[in-house]
Amino acid sequence: MRVNLEIILFCFFAALSWASALGVVCSKDPVKSALNLVGCFFCIACLYLLQAAELMAVLEVLVYAGAIMVLFVFVIMLVEQRDETILPQSTLSQVGFFVKIAAVLLVTLNLCVVILRNSFTGTGATLPVGFGGPQATGQLFFSNYVFHFELASVLLVVAIVGAVVISQNKTTEDEESTTA
């Protein structure tokens, strides 16, 4: 395999995404976790770009690194943090904990082996012009996937209303009793 720019970029962003994902799990401070997650999203967006998914890369940065992470940081600000040990002693002593971790690692390793054994040879189909761009995505959305698109909009509206209702302060009865 020729070493070219794509391979260099892929290795760089893959390693960086793993490192920042580990940073999310391992850092004690939730703010550091959030910043690591933003870095991870940027790396994943670059991996999207390497696979000609330009619109998805832009959306990844806008939606995840922008909107969702701002929400996370706000909640971290609102919720008072206590010191958390990553592996509490009471949990460490439980056998089930180790079984769970072992199961996760085993599944991951198995998947790696399966993927590498049945490796997809070749470099994939030749792409049509405009693959991954906004125009092609929009045409798909408003032809084959128009129902999915509308469903997503309904879901977002319901989620917004639900979030407002859930995070409301106490009920009106309490307010009346406090004012009275």
Binding site: E6, A21, C40, V63
Partner: protein
């Protein structure tokens, strides 16, 4: 556009490891906010596989599903973080080990 030379399995390997890290984070972290972040990490790993297969087959339907997963993730985060805030207001903690009121 760069002419691709890497086959899909490298991208799938990256996605698998990211998913594994996210799943391990959900299991070992006790802070509900960080558990949520790890769930986002797993969703992103799934998105990466969708984009990889879309590239592999030259079919853009995968991108549509990535978009839908993003919408679901945004909805999930909005509702989930609202729940975390209201739970914190009642219980003064977001440690998932201490939140056992529904345990029965």
């Amino acid at each position: 556009m760069i002419t691709p030379t890497l086959s899909i399995d490298y991208y799938l390997l990256v996605a698998t490891v990211l998913f594994g890290i996210g799943a391990a984070g959900v299991l070992i972290r006790r802070n509900a906010i960080i558990v949520f972040m790890c769930i986002e990490l797993m969703l992103n790993a799934a998105n990466l596989t969708l984009v990889s297969f879309a590239r592999h087959h030259g079919d853009m339907s995968g991108h549509i599903y990535v978009f839908l997963v993003m919408a679901v993730a945004a909805a999930e985060v909005a509702v989930g973080l609202a729940i975390i805030i209201s739970v914190f207001r009642l219980q003064k903690t977001v440690n998932v080990d201490e939140l056992s009121d529904l345990h029965g």
